[in-house]
């Protein structure tokens, strides 16, 4: 025992160091992964994101699970890349879910607006009866059969702002639907018109009025983009009519809007 006395302080120091090392060695996941896990929980708990997360949120789940399981085996660059990609996948999931949430709310608001326009019309409210009076369509509102077909066409316009009223089936394209792409349309504008072109294939008797509101130059050019796109998608040019509205903006819309009105 006495022989240990000279080295006792060294042994004690080693023991303390070993205990300290055990205490400081991370047993749980690294802090960055904990942060990602908390964020993932937040995404799932958010009522706008969790139910609308779809494949993107599932991808973020899977990426995080894989990263968590393998974090300690990765070198620093691989680990950093895993954190980076997982964090970005979470942001993709969040944005995609919020987009779906907004689109669903938009559909509900579209129905609400249709109901209000109908209420105005039945109450004889001047605003309702003069909606786009320049179309001169007030005296020939769609008959019930035609209206049913227009509603069927409207169901094909998923994700677009559209309504069925006394003018017919009305698809609204705002300035943000027109862009720098090859077709002069953004992806959303192209999707809307591609869906409309498909719906028009099943409605050979329907005519299409493309009405430009606001500045004659730029908006008229947008209306021509719509006409050209529908023509390329197989809609007979005879069925397409481009015109300038007399008013600056459609009811409930904005200056610069292009309305695509389908009637039989």
């Amino acid at each position: 025992m006495n022989r240990l006395r000279p080295i006792r302080p060294a042994l004690l120091s080693a023991a303390v160091a070993a205990v300290a090392a055990c205490a400081s060695a991370p047993h749980g996941p690294p802090a960055a992964i904990v942060r990602l896990q908390l964020e993932q929980e937040r995404l799932h708990a958010d009522p706008r994101i969790g139910p609308n997360g779809g494949a993107e949120l599932a991808n973020a789940d899977a990426a995080l699970a894989t990263l968590s399981a393998n974090a300690r085996r990765l070198d620093s660059r691989e680990y950093e890349q895993g954190i980076y990609l997982t964090e970005k996948l979470q942001r993709v999931a969040e944005a995609s879910a919020l987009a779906r949430d907004a689109e669903l709310r938009g559909e509900a608001l579209g129905r609400e607006r249709d109901r209000l326009v109908g209420a105005h019309a039945s109450a004889g409210a001047p605003r309702a009866t003069t909606v786009d009076a320049e179309f001169a369509m007030r005296d020939r509102a769609p008959l019930p059969d035609s209206r049913a077909r227009l509603f069927a066409m409207q169901r094909a316009l998923v994700g677009s702002e559209s309504s069925v009223d006394e003018r017919g089936l009305v698809l609204r394209l705002a300035s943000f639907n027109f862009g720098p792409g090859d077709t002069g349309l953004t992806a959303s504008g192209e999707r809307s018109l591609a869906n409309l072109a498909r719906a028009l294939e099943a409605a050979p008797r329907a005519d299409v009025s493309i009405v430009a509101y606001g500045d004659r130059g730029a908006v008229r050019a947008h209306a021509m983009v719509v006409r050209d796109y529908l023509g390329v998608r197989g809609v007979d040019p005879v069925r397409l009519d481009v015109r300038d509205a007399r008013r600056e903006a459609p009811t409930g819309g904005s200056r610069g809007d292009v309305l695509v009105v389908v009637r039989e």
Binding site: T66, L74, D75, E78, Q81, V92, L98, G179
Partner: protein
Amino acid sequence: MKTMHALAAVALAAAGGVAHAVDCDVAQLELAQATTAVQAAERDDAARYAPGDLAEARTTLDLASRAADAREWNDAAYFAERAKVNGDLASARSRQQRAEAATAQLQRSIDALHADGGVP
């Protein structure tokens, strides 16, 4: 669907395979997919609605292209994975912004109808 590849990249990285497994073909494939994602974001009007994400996507795509030119396939794949997920993010944010703008417009339209006709 776009994010599936990024997820696969995470899984690959997590399996410890990136540093040793990337060859020319894999890196070129990553680069092509990243280019497609960035182009899709541009078509989705991300320059207007998600300029920061699109800029990051372009920057990382440029780094990936330079690495590929230098035949640094690990770096090319590394930056291409980043460019692709940033392109996907720019597209998703652009879609979100457009959808929220359209919804706000509809809400204003409804408010106007309420104010105009006193409809409940």
